[in-house]
């Protein structure tokens, strides 16, 4: 354990403040805690006293000081990291794992992204199997269902994940989900929950999707006007904290905002300029920009401006009692308002 970096005293892991109330939650380990979702979760858990301990696993120490955290530098791409993770789980008595080491935006070094997202998940699952973790929760994306012309209007959790094979960013999620699903099948004693969130917007979210929609000009593909749905980051966090803090039934859930609107209507009420382009023009321009390293939208994303990829949030409503506080429209309007303020700054 020579690479262990103990948390600073001010983050207080040694504070003898064991809450004796029966509401104490077992130790929680978070992977990818300094990532986009991880840092949001950590800031949400800041005031949460009920966790016995929060074990933060990442390459970098999260900047936020939180009480009762313990940081371990773990590289999920390291071939030996599964044994190390199991060791850490053993030592800290981890009983819950929140797996968030997924990238919010597509990366140009697709090989590295694959190592982290797929192989990293595999390593984590090995460790979970070894240590017999009680609960494993993770967050992936409904975009992994894929935007296809033959999609039903509402994709349920049973629908196959058919994201484009060339969209490696989503393909990694599909593969990771496959690993998690087979793990859940093999280890019924572990309570596995997968939350698939749709396009997430919010003041703290910064992904390729928020950057794409925060521009004043948004391209549309001529002849296509798909329905889109959004979820607010707070609602994703609500669903996630519901899963890690209470006994919710295991399974896969779509986490979406209520309602949906066509792209053209969204752009109109968001005060954006719509620029309709023929599909082949947009494809080649976006593809060239992506290859040149100037664009941040891979050309495969354009499918989502063409075809339907709407998930049905009914199961989460029923089983998780998840009620999104922001509808698609509210999420979008607050986002475009914020984007305007951001651009003025």
């Amino acid at each position: 354990m020579e690479s262990e970096v103990p948390a600073k005293p001010d983050s207080g892991p040694r504070k003898k403040k064991k809450s004796a109330s029966n509401g104490t939650l077992p130790a929680l380990a978070i992977t990818g805690a300094s990532g986009f979702l991880g840092s949001l979760v950590l800031s949400r858990l800041r005031g949460e006293e009920r966790f016995e301990k929060i074990v933060v696993l990442d390459l970098e120490k999260p900047s936020l000081p939180i009480r009762k955290t313990k940081f371990y530098k773990v590289d999920l791409t390291d071939p030996a990291c599964d044994a190390r993770l199991a060791e850490i789980f053993q030592k800290e008595g981890v009983r819950q794992v929140l797996h968030l080491s997924f990238f919010g935006s597509p990366r140009r070094d697709a090989g590295y992204a694959h190592e982290v997202e797929v192989i990293g998940t595999l390593h984590l699952l090995h460790a979970c199997a070894q240590h017999k973790v009680e609960k494993l929760a993770t967050v992936t994306s409904t975009l992994a269902y894929g935007a296809r012309p033959d999609n039903p209007n509402f994709l349920t959790e049973e629908s196959p994940l058919r994201a484009s094979k060339r969209f490696s960013h989503l393909q990694n999620k599909v593969e990771a989900e496959g690993l998690i699903a087979s793990f859940a099948e093999k280890h019924p004693e572990t309570h596995v929950t997968v939350l698939r969130r749709c396009m997430t917007l919010g003041p703290k979210t910064d992904t390729y999707i928020t950057r794409f929609f925060s521009r004043p000009v948004v391209p549309m593909i001529l002849g296509y006007d798909p329905l889109l749905q959004f979820v607010h980051e707070d609602d994703v966090l609500d669903a996630l904290s519901r899963v890690i803090q209470s006994n919710t039934p295991a399974g896969v859930y779509n986490i979406v905002g209520e309602g949906l609107l066509p792209l053209s209507t969204l752009l109109r009420i968001g005060g954006k300029w719509r620029v309709g382009q023929p599909g082949f023009v947009l494809n080649s321009v976006v593809g060239a920009l992506w290859l040149a390293g100037a664009g941040e939208i891979p050309p495969e994303f354009l499918d989502y401006l063409r075809y339907l990829c709407i998930a049905d949030g009914e199961k989460a409503r029923e089983k998780l009692d998840y009620r999104p506080r922001h509808s698609t429209k509210d999420t979008w309007l607050s986002f475009t308002g914020e984007a305007r303020v951001r651009s003025l700054r």
């Binding site: 033959d150 039903p152 209007n153 509402f154 001529l222 296509y224 006007d225 609107l261 066509p262 209507t265």
Partner: protein, 346 residues
């Protein structure tokens, strides 16, 4: 202007304001701005006098007063603009935009009444409420029949129900046409979509012939093709919906299909491209439908729900029922054809 705490009558205040401000306004050099200021002052004073000529108001700085007034005007107009941006967005889960439908409906009403002179009968067979599955024959390259069926029920049915037609992928995913159809409430035919709409107690119309129906050659018109693979029967049993057979006669004459070119279709990214004497030789103009005389007839409902879910496992039974529904629609079509004398005059 100095602010006074003591309330004074509004009339006094108005004249005082006018006197004091006249001087200030005269000092403005730019004639445009001066005219504007004068107009604003006149409006403000008028408003003040109208609102409460006898009321006592606290005297406020004129500049404050005017800026308050302008701000309230601005915020009101902002509010109106905001409302404009959000009002009229009544888009349901399938993308059906009611406001848009109301805007474009007159075109279809014209086609219904004047162009195709549609005669609708048997509308009493359509229930006033609750889930119902309309099963119709299919025709035309573009889904005119679906739109006319919508129009027929909306115009003739006492409950003016919205029909939610489901159409094959061929048309539903076509560029430009697809988003338009989605906006007017036409959805891609899909078992899950149909189930969801029926569970919402909607009136759903399906055209089980699918693409085979729309590329049917002219000489085989009104001879119904195979009704898919029995999906309609399973749908009706699973959702316990009554099935109402519908015959749409006249649609097969609007585009006399003389052949089809899968090769040309492939170029355009479609499974096949139907050829008529006018299309695609005249381009888009070849898609103007011919003015045939239309008849839409609804038959008595078929109750498949009584069979229960057990029937779903019996594929032979499902197939037989499917064939039965098809023959009901076919009989209805022949019934209408026997009655009409001419395809164009009726």
């Amino acid at each position: 202007m100095a602010k006074e705490e003591k309330p004074v009558p509004a009339e006094t205040l108005a004249s005082q304001v006018r006197k004091n401000l006249a001087k200030e306004i005269e000092a403005i050099r730019d004639p445009g701005i001066r005219a504007q200021a004068e107009k604003r002052l006149a409006e403000a004073i008028e408003g003040l006098q109208e609102a409460a000529p006898k009321a006592h108001v606290t005297q406020k700085g004129v500049i404050d007063f005017l800026s308050d007034w302008a701000a309230s005007r601005r915020s009101a107009s902002r509010e109106r603009a905001g409302q404009r941006a959000h009002e009229g967005i009544h888009i349901d889960a399938f993308g059906f935009d009611r406001a848009y439908w109301r805007r474009v409906e007159p075109l279809f009403a014209y086609l219904y009444e004047n162009y195709w002179r549609v005669e609708t009968s048997g509308i009493e067979h359509v229930p006033t409420e609750g889930r119902t599955l309309l099963v119709a024959n299919h025709s035309g390259i573009l889904p005119w029949d679906a739109l006319m069926l919508r129009e027929a029920v909306e115009k003739e049915h006492p409950a003016q129900r919205h029909v939610r037609p489901l159409i094959e992928d061929y048309t539903a995913t076509m560029p430009f046409l697809g988003p338009f159809l989605r906006r007017v409430g036409i959805t891609r035919a899909d078992q899950q979509n149909a189930e969801r709409l029926l569970n919402d107690e909607k009136l759903v119309a399906i055209f089980p012939e699918g693409i085979q129906g729309i590329v049917k050659p002219y000489r085989e018109r009104y001879r119904l093709r195979r009704f898919g693979r029995g999906g309609l029967v399973k749908l009706a049993i699973r959702t316990r919906s009554p099935v109402v057979p519908v015959a749409i006669v006249g649609g097969d004459e609007i585009y006399p299909v003389i052949g089809q070119s899968p090769w040309l279709g492939k170029v355009l990214g479609l499974p096949t491209l139907p050829l008529t004497p006018l299309f695609p030789w005249l381009g888009a103009a070849g898609l103007v439908p011919l003015p045939s005389k239309w008849f839409i007839r609804f038959g008595p409902p078929i109750d498949l729900a009584k069979l229960g879910k057990k029937a779903l496992d019996d594929e032979i039974l499902v197939n037989r029922l499917n064939e039965e529904v098809r023959s009901k629609v076919q009989d209805l079509v022949y019934e209408v054809i026997r009655e009409r004398r001419s395809a164009w005059l009726g």
